[in-house]
């Protein structure tokens, strides 16, 4: 195996192990930053940081390692964009709210008509996810898109496993509440 500290191999190894995860890095930054241009700046900066600290990479999971750097770069470069979780306490009961207004949400098997609606439905879900707090958006993207384990997410965020579980539940429930609320508001507009 190549020694990561040997200079000629370093760039090559980095290109093999870290560069391929650029889509995942960009997507995470895109969800954590307010706009596409800032997200691209973050990815660029995160890659520079990753390359400079490549010695600390132990070679087990390049994607998780890079995503942790992307996430921290978002924090330090644009800490002001961080939105805090709402003060209202999380209520377990909200999980029971049945949402019947968004077909893709309520039915796993969508009929052809529902598929037609799905495009605008996804646009709506995107908007509502954007309105979630930073720490909700990050667990959702790491779990739902990157499909990382709770353990990997815990290590990226530097929090205990139980916190990952409760944040995920909270994020999913809050999103569902927003979807439901959106459809209750529509007739009034």
């Amino acid at each position: 195996m190549n020694d990561p500290k040997s200079a000629p191999d370093r760039l090559q190894r980095f290109e093999q192990l870290i560069l391929p995860h650029i889509d995942a890095a960009t997507n995470l930054a895109r969800w954590l930053m307010p706009n596409r241009e800032d997200a691209q700046d973050v990815v660029q900066e995160a890659y520079l940081r990753a390359y400079r600290s490549f010695e600390s990479f132990r070679g087990d999971n390049g994607r998780a390692w890079l995503l942790a750097i992307v996430r921290n770069t978002c924090f330090t470069l644009h800490a002001k964009t961080r939105t805090h979780a709402p003060e209202e306490p999380f209520e377990e009961e909200t999980q029971e709210t049945v949402c019947e207004t968004l077909p893709g949400w309520a039915n796993a098997a969508a009929d052809p008509l529902a598929l037609l609606e799905r495009r605008s439905e996804i646009e709506l879900v995107k908007q509502l996810i954007r309105s979630l707090p930073f720490d909700h958006r990050e667990v959702l993207v790491l779990r739902e898109v990157e499909e990382l384990s709770y353990k990997e997410i815990a290590s990226i965020l530097g929090v205990p496993l139980g916190t990952v579980m409760s944040r995920l539940a909270r994020a999913r429930a809050l999103l569902e509440r927003k979807v439901t609320a959106h459809f209750h508001e529509v007739p009034r507009q």
Partner: protein, 229 residues
């Protein structure tokens, strides 16, 4: 296992994060309890929607070859010395990265903030000249970001089958610009007021709640320059 216990475990069950005994206990409960089984189905559907909404947008990634060149520069000790000097001067990290990119990597944006233009179109009468303007603008500023925001009669040229006075369809021209990174946004308020179904809008365009609000937001929040063709 009762419903309260099962409900707490539904997300980890779906995420395959439970140990075998707990997973079996949940599965057994789900066979007996239609209510919890229905809730699991709802979580599954929600998860599918979240995945679809959050997955990477095609073409959104940073240019890989530009990134590779940036790393090669970072790799060279000579330039690295330069960079350290900038650090010593107290320039913020992002500016340094941007400066480095500007000086040595031609295909990266020219400064911390790239050029950004919003084209505001509220009448499709001049859509032909607007698309032409953008194409020329793109030639002069190939690295700039372009967003076209349409509302009122401006949405018409982004509807399926739309063509100009000479009968030439708009869609291929829109698709070609989109291909080069130009984004087209359509006002949902306009569609609602004019009773135009969203399905009638061509796939190259995306939607915003209000076109006019988007024109304002891009200028205030994202530093876009306003252009009215």
């Amino acid at each position: 296992m009762n419903c309260a216990d099962a409900k707490k475990l539904l997300h980890p069950y779906l995420d395959e994060e439970l140990d075998a005994p707990s997973a079996i206990a949940v599965a057994e409960h789900l066979q007996q309890c239609a209510r919890c089984a229905a809730e699991l189905e709802r979580h599954k559907a929600a998860s599918g929607l979240i995945k679809a909404a959050m997955r990477p947008e095609p073409g959104a990634a940073v240019d890989l070859s530009a990134m590779r060149r940036m790393l090669e520069i970072e790799h060279r000790p000579a330039e690295a010395t330069h960079r350290r000097r900038w650090f010593a001067l107290g320039a913020p990290a992002l500016t340094v990265a941007a400066l480095l990119a500007w000086a040595l990597v031609p295909s990266l944006p020219g400064s911390g903030r790239s050029e950004r233009y919003v084209y505001h179109i509220n009448s499709s009468d001049n859509a032909t000249s607007a698309l032409g303007n953008i194409a020329f603008h793109l030639e002069t500023a190939p690295k700039a970001h372009f967003v076209v925001v349409t509302h009122n009669e401006g949405v018409d040229f982004l509807l399926r089958g739309a063509s100009d006075g000479a009968g030439t369809p708009f869609q291929p021209r829109v698709a070609a610009l989109k291909e080069r990174g130009v984004q087209f946004r359509v006002c949902l308020n306009t569609l609602r007021v004019r009773h135009i179904p969203q399905q009638q809008v061509i796939a190259q365009a995306s939607f915003v709640p209000s076109g006019i609000a988007e024109v304002g937001r891009l200028q205030i929040e994202e530093g876009y320059a306003y252009l009215k063709p």
